[in-house]
Symmetry: none
Subunit: 207 residues, 4 copies
DNA sequence: CATGAATGAGTGTTCATTCAT
DNA sequence: CATGAATGAACACTCATTCAT
């Protein structure tokens, strides 16, 4: 009995520390970007030696990928736990997804994902590991878009690929960053307008 | 009289070289990204010494800023030279602008702007220098958006800031990159669908 | 009575483990060389914690020295247990020694000694600890060389030191490695030729 | 005329510096071995910045290879410039080669070659670059060994490969290091004895 | 003005060694 | 006694920037 407890204590501490590292790494990446985030700085901010960092993540890449993946997992889980009923419209379902993506109060999550997503270096990592979670999220959205088309909610003349691409580009929280940060709009306000635009835009046209 | 002429000759050569540097720098950035573009490589490709590069641009940042600015200038000029007549709808005018942004056959221009716009390092520079041209382009778009509202083309209930932000996010050529590169759509096809979505989305609703 | 037994049991276990460590260390060194053998890997292969390794050997050097010494001890013992009769020629005795050095079928032993003997790092250790066993082995060879001289087998005009040095350089199994590995000669073949050369070379000249 | 002179001046300085780097690198390698020789230390001892080192040699490997190759070239050249006449015996020719290999008063050259030759890391480099010079030297020796066989000087029953391997192992200056350094023998003395052993050993046996 | 050699701070990563548990 | 997490010095290599010529 003793050993398991002991182990799980250590394991718990390990996970806590790993969590801390991920948190710090996120902060630094948010401040400085992927390239300018050095393992040195992360270690220093966490308050551990550089070598210790490498005990948790064998490469800088892995660390970055870890928190990217974690965020994607969070999103995917939230999406999968969404209460979807038959009578809900496709639009309502997609709006729930948008809400999840924007939920993070500080907007950190979205920024982070965006930074990584567009980092020249990270893209390579991403391709190599071909993140499954990413695909599953986008498949979910695609499924709802197609559902909307068959239900007669959305315009069937626009290819689903293009709808998907548009969904992520307009509704991406990053896209409208400036509005919150500099222009004083609330997230809610922006979100509701942008959704309005998108869903009107893709709505099935009265024949 | 002599000296000025001499000077202006030199000045002309200087400008020609500067132009060449900017061209080369663009190519390299397109190939390798901001961070992986080294001053060495630019100098080598231009065929001048590295020191000479620094005679034209005191920092790497400045060089990058310069060609960013130049592209923006090109776009601004094209926008300003657009043949706009009174009877043209606001939508038609905005579509012309979108065309300009996408015109560049290879998509080079758009890629370039996007790379810089999202480069971790360059963002800082951009904020510091607060590019005037950028503002003037966006002012132009904003003006047309507002014109559309007053003309009854666009929904007056959506704040212009949000329309603007949406305009740039959906219509950005970069947003839909994957569709050309991996999914086999043509630029034209994507563009026309995305425009349809956007303009329908912002259209004034029948009361 | 109890405690000593207990102790000796523990002591026995300790020695067994030490033996195991030495075995594993040898294998790794043979595979990867001195420098690329990490304490981590040895510990992992033995199945103990890294800290435990340091309970047995305070430094990496010491561990390496230990198995070097052990091999030398093995060789020395084998040499000392050689059945030497009065009527055996000095040459026959020396040939037995050569056989011992080459006996190890796989050539492991010889490779190992050579690796350590020529390892940049290890040489320092070797000098500091000035391995006694090494000297005893070479003393044995020297004794036979001198015996050969007095018996009239070997040329008395060549200083024994030089004979000794030559003995180890020509007859070293490592010296002819390439011949086995790349040229397809058998160990036996090479050995017999090389011995022929050496013993003819040092034979007393007919006056 | 001016530019060429200028260039050749710069070029001369460059070569001088490169020479200095090679010298220093040799010294450090002799002191510490391949692995423990750091680029930092070489730079510091030369009195230049680390970056400057990399201006001359793009990798540590290249620097090491450069002076290895240089030494081999020196030896090869000396061998090729040897005055060989028809009536010279094969043995005489081979002795000249041995003399060249031992000529270096301090024995530095030989040590250096040996260190590199047996460095775990450098071997890889050597294999990749498959040093031509090395092969040409050994081909020269092999040619003389075979000449000796056909002339009836050397024992035709021993495969030339084995003769070659023995030649380099017995006659290698490194093999007998200890004798000079610790036992007080002169190079000349050792050399002459060792040659005697080798050439007697390989001599054709009276039938 | 043009050059390009020189700089040196900075990067990710490794690994022998220590020590609290 | 055994553990293995933590350390931190060390390494090869890069590149924007400077400056003597």
């Amino acid at each position: 009995m003793k050993v398991p407890e002991h182990r799980s204590l250590k394991e718990k501490q390990r996970l806590e520390r790993e969590e801390l590292i991920l948190q710090v790494a996120q902060d630094v990446v948010l401040e400085k970007g992927y390239r300018d985030t050095s393992m040195d700085e992360i270690a220093a901010r966490v308050g551990i030696a550089k070598g210790t960092l490498y005990l948790h993540f064998a490469r800088k890449e892995d660390l970055m990928l870890a928190f990217f993946e974690r965020e994607m997992q969070n999103i995917l889980q939230a999406i999968e736990q969404l209460p979807v009923t038959e009578e809900m419209s496709a639009r309502a379902k997609l709006e729930s997804i948008v809400n999840i993506m924007h939920k993070d109060a500080s907007g950190k999550r979205a920024n982070l994902l965006f930074i990584l997503f567009n980092s020249e270096d990270f893209k390579i990592t991403l391709q190599q590991k071909s993140l499954d979670t990413l695909r599953r999220i986008s498949d979910k959205v695609r499924a709802y878009l197609e559902e909307g088309k068959t239900r007669g909610e959305f315009d069937p003349n626009i290819p689903t690929d293009i709808l998907l691409s548009s969904f992520f580009s307009v509704l991406s929280p990053r896209a409208h960053r400036r509005l919150f940060l500099e222009e004083g709009y609330t997230r809610q306000e922006v979100l509701s307008c942008v959704q309005k635009i998108f869903f009107r835009g893709i709505a099935k046209q009265p024949s």
